[in-house]
Amino acid sequence: MDFAVKLRYFIIRRILLSIIVLFGVCVITFFIARVIPANPAAMWVGAHPTQEQIERAKKELGLDQPLHIQFLIYMNKLLHGDLGVSIRTHRPVIEDILSYLPASLELVGTGMIIAVIIGIPLGVESATKKDSWIDHVSRLLSIGGVSIFTPWLGMMGQLLFFKWLGLLPVGDRISTIVSIQYPIQKITGFYLIDSILSGNFVAFQDALAHIILPALVVAAYPMGLVTRMIRSTMADVLEEDFIRTAKAYGIPGRIVAYKYALKNSLGPTITVLALSFAYSLVETFLIEMVFNWPGLGRYAAFSIISLDYPAIMGIAIFIAIVYILLNLIVDLLQAVIDPRVRLG
């Protein structure tokens, strides 16, 4: 009875907090976009603007109006999904973002899955067999993973697997030949899923070959974090009495570790995963540039390089919103799983 009320209370408070934070983020981005630059209209319109374009931008942005009215205009645009028009592609920024999003989601998603599949068992083994060789390997991998400069890792991968071994392609999502002869039907926008769903195995192989290297590079950082997190929380959990009891009952070590201990370690790990998802989203700016992956990251990188400010701000707002929502979901999940969170 009490739990249900506490849970609902927690959920409501948490959602309200997210809304406040979202609002605050809008304030921050407004500040960065309009208040800091010396000439916001020029930023919006691009290099070498005509006087007419500047005048139009001034009116659209409401630059002649007082600051709070400008903010209201800004918020109004945001709520309507108007993030401006990209100077580079001449399309509405929101259109650009939505069209490039599936490619990045596929890349980051695959990377996170790899990170989890490798990281969790590695962390568990490392925690259960302290100071064994696997412990040392996992510690090396985890600290190495977070210390590496991802573009460099990508480039080294290209050097090794493309230039020297000739096993994998150097970049892009799919080879031109395959995309012409065996085009993938667009169902979800994820090449790996769509090609399987439509029975297009040639394209699946090709897409897989293209995604494996960048996904591994994306996975490096989250894997490092996950391995670390699992290892340290498991090490604590394994000291607990209930684990000792389970072992005393004769339950085999592996089942004890995976079934009983792991569950308790998952909480902070999920939080860390959410954090690293957002981190990876921004890392893909660099990784997608190296692999010429046609996703949001490459779009962002190009926008930054060409100083396409509407696009830069649009991407920033988009990622910020995704990050806040993700944290909200993770926190709510934690509240459901772990009673201590909503009671404490």
Binding site: G24, F149, P151, W152, M155, I304, I312, A320
Partner: protein, 290 residues
């Protein structure tokens, strides 16, 4: 005084016990040493900035050029060594800036409490809800309007990282506020500002130090990422991230252009991360396993 001494010596002893931490700490000292005396020991110091030798371009690693030469004929080894200077100084200055912003805010928020605390923490939460890399990127891009410069990187990083320190310090202050020594100082009539900085702050130094050393590696990576995208260091500065971004065009044919700068980044960040990991284990009493 004697107690402090003993504590330091014990911490050093714990540090030495962990082989990995000890080695990486020594390596960090070595890196700092190399960064400081860099320009004096490199074979081609002029290559680090202005000099170009197009006739020597793209030479593979050899005895004259240990890491080979780049697209302008410059010795990569010299550039990498001098680049250490740049990366380390970015790290130090950026973190100092971050601490200078974050710590006082945390002290004030924690000590004053009430409305000021709420206000500061709300703003901190808002900044915390953005991925730091993103904030640094966007800020550097916008500030780039005023012309690309080095300082953009430093300020951008400080703006992105300060909230973590504010939250850390505030937590510390809140728990220390109730301690008798604070109460005693207050009763003796010490002004709040003095209490904060002379009494409470020294007790917070350890977590701040640990966090700063943990962040050092990330700051170097962030700075490299910024220059990789063209924000921050500009050619011909021998910054590692910049060298990678230029090397990207040639590395498939001339592998040494990209391999060595990136290796330098990896080794440096790894050393700092290992050292600070061990530092955290040594300095945080609750993690000490006896």
């Amino acid at each position: 005084m004697k107690a402090r001494f003993r504590e330091i010596r014990y911490s050093l002893y714990v540090l030495k016990r962990n082989r990995l931490t000890y080695v990486s700490s020594l390596f960090v000292l070595f890196l700092i040493f190399v960064a400081v005396i860099g320009p004096l020991i490199v074979p081609y110091p002029e290559d680090a900035y202005g000099a170009v030798h197009p006739e020597r371009a793209f030479k593979p690693p050899s005895f004259e050029h240990i890491f080979g030469t780049d697209d302008a004929g410059r010795d990569i080894f010299s550039r990498v060594i001098i680049g250490a200077r740049i990366s380390l100084s970015i790290g130090v200055i950026a973190i100092v800036l971050t601490v200078l912003i974050g710590v006082p805010l945390g002290l004030i928020a924690g000590y004053m409490g009430g409305f000021i605390d709420e206000a500061i923490m709300r703003v901190t939460d808002m900044f915390l809800s953005l991925p730091p890399l993103l904030l640094a990127l966007v800020f550097a891009a916008v500030m780039g309007l005023r012309g690309q410069s080095f300082n953009n990187v430093l300020v951008a990083i400080a703006i992105a990282w300060w909230p973590w320190y504010t939250r850390l310090v505030r937590g510390q202050v809140v728990s220390l506020k109730e301690r008798p020594f604070v109460e005693a100082a207050h009763a003796a009539g010490v002004r709040p500002l003095k209490i904060m900085f002379r009494h409470i702050l020294p007790n917070c130094l350890t977590p701040i130090l640990v966090q700063a050393s943990l962040d050092f590696g990330s700051v170097i990576l962030t700075a490299a990422g910024l220059s990789f995208l063209g924000l921050g260091a500009q050619p011909p500065t021998p910054e590692w991230g910049l060298m990678l971004s230029i090397g990207r065009y040639y590395f498939l044919n001339y592998w040494w252009l990209a391999t060595f700068p990136g290796l330098a980044i990896f080794v440096t960040v790894l050393a700092f991360n290992l050292m600070s990991d061990g530092l955290r284990e040594a300095l945080c009493p609750r993690l000490r396993r006896f």
